[in-house]
């Protein structure tokens, strides 16, 4: 905390804090530099690390280091994009990977920066907290010799007939300042030049410490979330039920310390999913403007069922997790009969969004078909149109003219060798095409309620109707409540630190030879304080009221320029008073 004061830093209590600490530290470091043992080396490193300059440097470095994460695709957010990016940039894609530029926020160098920053922070906060604790318990600093050197200075004169001697004036001044929230100590009360020191605004430093400490709290909370949290995804077609067990997830990302016993087996059933499309904004017709999923939930298998609405920005919380609506689409219902006439597959097929207006791709795998396994690949269009060039497209997100266009294959789907397969993709290399535009049989085109008989007696496929599906993300993050609490604490600390002013006031009184009581006071702020002059005015008014002095209209009086009086004695500063040798700024002792 720099003392931004134009006071000659004679007294050590005045020139306190960081500024001086820094100087001492630096002096120490300089002195120690030539012959450093291992301990000296460590101490030197520690002093450097915890200096304000290093903190500033690391902060700026952190800002710079965060930037590449926005320039290159990041693995945690988008692993497939990263893979593609490396493929697309063979010359430097790999190099960026070795530099961890696709994992910036978990990279060694990014971690190093913020860990160093936080070590520096701890190294800074702990000694400051101790020092502040001591400061809060010790008395205000002793009264400086020349109050007139303080940034705010003023004098008051109590007339002789008021009957307030110097000692009484100082105690009543102490009372005034106490009422104003200062901690006050009166010195030399019975002496010739009684004085008082007062201080307030300890909350500033407390706020600063709370702020910095809370940042550590936020970091730790984030780490806890990474250790014990988990997240997963699931697609639910209308009518489907999700049960919170590992097999219930389509995709699951456990935290480092996750245990499957953490999962509470609640269930969530998607009853219905409604979308409202924009039908009135110019240029935005057909944009979804409302998603609303009606779900039935059960806390555990035996709990009563509950109806809830899941919306974007409005997750459902269940069993310590939150469930978010993150995607949706159409799932055409199909029935496939095999060459032997048996139903080999029946149900919804989740369409993957490919283009505007829910233009979706579909893949149907029918491993149970006999004698040959069947596969289908194609598109679903909720409102099918054909352009003049013969290209199909979806003209609207609503179900005005649903159409399923498919190619078909038969052969071995390759599902039996146990290798996991993506349900949205089909590998047709080992399959024999049955239907395609370039084949004699042509492609398959189905409207709801229609069916198609595959060539060569391979079976039939019928399009029974359309359901909607939703994609949900399920998250559990035990750290996030703590992160919020620490963040709020940090803001509170920051506000205190920036808006509480740490101020000191000193008052000294003395008796003029003609019987008047002369009062001088000075104010000093620690750190930035643009309202110190206002405080000086307020103190002046309060003291004037206390002693029933005529309120002087011009507070600037207290800032008399030295030109009218070279040594600024109180007598000189007050217009009517004659110069006095007994001015408190005379050659008296410093107490």
């Amino acid at each position: 905390m720099s003392e931004r004061v134009n006071v000659k830093k004679k007294s050590s209590t005045l020139a306190g804090g960081k500024e001086r600490g820094d100087k001492v530290a630096e002096a120490k470091a300089d002195a120690a530099l030539p012959a450093l043992g291992p301990v000296g080396m460590l101490r030197w490193a520690w002093t450097q690390l915890t200096s304000m300059r290093t903190a500033l440097f690391l902060l700026l470095l952190l800002a710079v280091a965060a930037v590449p994460g926005s320039l290159f695709p990041q693995r945690p957010a988008n692993p497939s994009v990263v893979t593609q990016y490396i493929k697309d940039n063979p010359d430097y894609g790999k190099l960026l990977d070795t530099l961890q530029l696709y994992d910036v926020y978990s990279s060694a160098w990014f971690s190093a920066i913020y860990l160093l920053l936080f070590i520096s922070l701890i190294g800074c906060v702990v000694p400051r907290a101790i020092a502040h604790y001591k400061a809060m318990r010790s008395q205000p600093p002793r009264t400086p010799k020349r109050l007139s050197r303080l940034p705010e200075y003023g004098t008051l004169v109590i007339p002789a007939d008021a009957g307030i001697p110097a000692s009484e004036a100082i105690t009543s001044a102490a009372g005034v300042l106490k009422n104003r929230g200062y901690r006050v100590e009166v010195r030399d009360a019975g002496g010739e030049r009684p004085s008082l020191g007062a201080e307030r605004g300890f909350a500033k430093e407390v706020g600063n410490l709370v702020f910095h400490t809370s940042l550590i709290g936020v970091l730790v909370s984030v780490a806890i979330g990474g250790l014990f949290g988990y997240s997963g995804q699931r697609i639910l077609v209308e009518g489907d039920t999700f049960v919170n067990t590992l097999v219930g997830y389509d995709q699951f990302t456990p935290g480092t310390n996750f245990q499957s016993s953490q999962l509470q087996p609640y269930s969530l059933q998607l009853d219905k999913f409604d979308i409202t499309f924009d039908r009135e904004s110019r240029g935005k017709i057909g944009q979804p403007i409302d998603f609303s999923a009606s779900v039935t939930t059960k806390e555990n298998p035996d709990a009563p069922a509950q109806k809830e609405i899941l919306k974007v920005n409005d997750p459902v919380t269940l069993g310590g997790t939150s469930i978010y609506l993150t995607g949706n689409g159409y799932a055409p219902m199909v029935t496939v009969r095999d060459g032997e006439g048996n139903v080999a597959m029946q149900g919804p097929v989740v369409g993957k969004l490919q283009g505007d207006n829910y233009y979706s791709s579909v893949v149907i795998k029918v491993p149970d078909a006999k004698p040959d396994q069947l596969g289908f690949q194609g598109f679903f269009l909720p409102t099918a149109f054909v352009s003049n060039e013969g290209v199909s497209y979806s003209g609207d997100p609503g179900l005005f003219n649903p159409q399923l266009t498919l190619n078909s294959f038969y052969g071995d789907l390759g599902l039996d060798d146990g290798a996991p397969q993506n349900v949205f993709e089909i590998d047709v290399r080992n399959l024999t095409p049955l239907n395609a535009r370039n084949l004699a049989a042509g492609g398959i085109k189905l409207a709801p309620g229609t069916s198609y008989t595959l060539p060569d007696g391979k079976g039939t496929i019928s399009f029974d109707g359309v359901k909607r599906y939703i994609g949900v993300d399920i998250h559990h993050n035990p750290g996030q409540l703590y992160a919020l609490i620490f963040a709020l604490l940090a803001v509170a600390g920051l506000i205190l630190s920036l808006y509480v002013n740490r101020r000191r006031v000193w008052v000294r009184t003395g008796t003029h030879e003609d019987g008047r009581t002369m009062v001088e006071y000075g104010l000093l702020a620690r750190g930035e304080d643009h309202r110190l002059a206002g405080e000086a005015d307020a103190v002046r008014k309060l003291l004037s009221a206390e002693w029933q002095l005529a309120a002087d209209a011009d507070p600037a009086k207290s800032q008399q320029t030295p030109s009218s009086s070279p040594d600024n004695g109180p007598g000189a500063a007050t217009t009517s008073a004659p110069r006095t040798p007994a001015g408190p700024s005379g050659p008296e002792k410093d107490q």
Partner: protein, 361 residues
């Protein structure tokens, strides 16, 4: 379900925006005229003063000559900083270079063009406000759901904040800058980002849009003011050094601008408020992200840049308490911070893919 769309309101709004931009343009000219005229008038005063060989007759400089030495020190090589320097008129920063009040309080002397300029800006802001309001009514929601609306509403907030500060402080020397920026924003909105009134996508339908974005816009408006002040501070500090070293004062209009130290002190105070605002922006953004996407922090591009801005301004606050970093270096940090704000708003919104990519383009 959101309210309906009212196209007519939307058209009124666009008309108001146009009128506001026109009014601002006249105000801009008046502000510029004020700068030019004042610099001429000041030169005339100087001339007279020099002729009379009585520099004490230069209005503010007379009182300022007797100021404590800290005010004379100027920002260069300053090691001790007055804690309450802005509380008093700190007139000079190197012997008669400065005529403007360091306190940035209104002086007695009247600047007619500046008064006209402020009056026009107020008029423009009223029309502009009507434009923002009708936009909100037309869309049936808060008027900050896409780039067009961020820009038009943001420009309004920036100018309104400027006018509010003007009530207390004489920052009219910033007029050309703030009003000029307002015009640029309005023009950019209408030309490059025009979007008809429309509904919000579901991802934006949240009360957090109201809280998070409004605080972000307010903080950005404050950062805009401090950016201008920091830029002027650099110029002023350079000029003060030149003049102190006996060089010629080529930037006469800078006399209207307070000393580098006063600029630094006021911009610090405004930056402190804006930093708190930005901290809230960050926090509320995180809370909203948790509600919408299930994680409160995911290093999405927009999040990254919001974080970078936060760290840069934290660096700025630190710099102000670090020896050797006050003054010019701190001013540079404030400028860099603002460039990041601009970058975050323009480039990131448009060219980076991320979860925040619903800028309405």
């Amino acid at each position: 379900m959101p309210f309906g769309i009212n196209e007519t309101m939307g058209q009124y709004s666009e008309l108001f925006m146009l009128l506001a931009a026109g009014t601002y343009t006249v105000a801009f000219i008046a502000f510029a005229w004020d700068l030019a005229k004042s610099s001429k008038a000041l030169r005339a005063i100087d001339l007279k003063a020099a002729q009379a060989d009585e520099s004490a007759k230069v209005p503010v400089a007379a009182g300022a000559a007797a100021r404590s030495e800290s005010h004379l020190a100027g920002p260069a090589g300053r090691t001790e900083r007055p804690s309450s320097s802005t509380a008093r008129p700190a007139g000079t920063g190197g012997g008669g270079v400065m005529t403007a009040d360091g306190d940035m309080r209104y002086a007695a002397e009247r600047r007619a063009p500046a008064r006209v300029a402020v009056a026009l800006t107020v008029l423009g802001a009223v029309i502009h406000g009507a434009g923002v309001l009708t936009r909100a009514l037309g869309a049936g929601r808060v008027p900050w759901g896409n780039m067009y609306e961020f820009l038009t509403t943001g420009a309004f907030v920036a100018i309104a904040v400027f006018l509010l500060v003007l009530i207390r402080r004489d920052l009219r020397f910033l007029g050309t800058f703030v009003v000029g920026l307002g015009i640029i924003m309005l023009v950019a909105a209408s030309v490059a980002y025009w979007t008809p009134v429309g509904h919000l996508v579901p991802a934006l339908q949240s009360y957090w849009l109201i809280i998070h974005v409004s605080i972000a816009v307010l903080s950005s408006a404050l950062f805009t003011l401090t950016f201008a002040m920091s830029a002027l501070q650099l110029v002023q500090s350079h000029r003060q050094k030149t003049v102190a070293a006996g060089g010629a004062d080529k930037l006469g209009f800078m006399r209207l601008v307070p000393s580098a130290l006063s600029l630094e002190n006021l911009s610090y105070r405004i930056n402190a408020i804006a930093f708190i605002g930005w901290t809230f922006t960050l926090m509320f953004g995180a809370i909203w992200a948790e509600k919408a996407w299930g994680r409160f922090w995911g290093w999405d591009t927009k999040e990254v840049w919001t974080f970078v801005i936060w760290v840069v301004y934290a660096g700025y606050l630190h710099a102000r308490a670090t020896r050797g970093w006050t003054g010019t270096r701190a001013a540079w940090l404030s400028i860099v911070g603002y460039l990041c704000v601009i970058f975050n708003f323009t480039i990131v919104n448009q060219f980076f893919n991320g979860l925040h990519s619903y800028s309405g383009l």
